[in-house]
Amino acid sequence: MINMLVKKELALYFRNLNNIFLPLVFFFLIISIFPLVLGPEKNLFDKIIPGIIWITAILTTILTSNNFFKDDFNNGIIEIYLTSDMSVELVLFLKIISCWFFTCFPILIFIPLVSLLFSIPFQNSMVILLTLFIGTPVLISIGIFGSALTLGLAKNNILTPVIIIPFYIPVLIFSASAIEAVSTGLPFEMQIYILAALLILVLPIMPYLLKYTLGLSINN
């Protein structure tokens, strides 16, 4: 059963192999918008590129988690979740992980290349990668939770982001602080530990929280 779920959940993304490139294209599109808008000043751009990478990752998570359960809700699959005698928490966990894997992970792989392109020093780029690696699953989880909260509501593409962005702040603060630290030569381990603690806290609880939230949203 469990492998069937894993298989199907992955199939949704693998169906169209292009989908794996989409987050990447999106990433580069957003990155290339910045110099267009901020002006092509090289020094300036070099300074803010780690921030831009992070902003782009945030956007990706907001966009992909927005209306995450909408289709399942319209098609009645949420009712399947709630009337299943299998561990739905596992399904929800899988959904979080695969959403992350197919939208954030492709970006992570290309961070070293991007760092090369923008001549970010190796150690800094590794810290950026690390913060993204630990941070984005948390952000995705928060986003998915937000979309479960707003499930039955009238269409409002901005409501969920507004609800979830405040919850992004801790992750952002510690990530930015780690990146700042490494680029000024200070120790950055502490921040990474805190981020990791957040991840370890959020990820195991999230499926239960999600199931509960979905139950609340649908009991209408």
Binding site: M4, R15, D71, D72, E79, I80, L82, S84
Partner: protein, 210 residues
Amino acid sequence: MKSTEISVNSATCYKNNNLIFSDVSISYNDGDIGIIMGPNGCGKTTLIRSICGIQALDEGQILLDKIDIKNHNNNYMDKIIYIGHKNSLNNDFSVYENLEYLSAFDSSSKINKINEAMKYFDIYKYRNYMVSEISEGNKKKVSLARLLISQKKVWILDEPLSYLDDTAVNIFTNLVLNHQKKGGITIASTHYDFSKNINNVKYLNMDPGR
């Protein structure tokens, strides 16, 4: 096989401060076919959803084998399969994949019965079609095909006949009859009484709440 009893015990439900139904009691035992009838808006769907634990009751309980489903630790559904109004099909999957996926949510299901189930409902030819590429009636058949894959004893169905053509209605009726013979329980809401010449049918006529 252990006998099963599912009973609704003076159930009352409000939505948004409106009474939907009150003091509904009925109980179903092995071999029963329960038909829930009543005019549009009388609360059939609401009752069915509360039997499945999706909808909370304001008063009364749903009892499975004399135990309130709330005290069943979430595994009371291991005897029950629920098929609602909506087809629960994922448009991004083919018919076959959908049945695979839905089976994974059902501990009793037998994956190797999927093909058989599709043939039973005459939708085998659509097995590789995307759900968005088949007709409304065929979608309903796909969702009903779950009944043949699952091995559960209690079927709870909300208007299973909608969009089905006459052949499919007969197929479905036979399926319910077979289930009855094996001692299964079927609870279905419907406007079209498919159970005319069936024994052991328990009707529940719901009056409009207001």
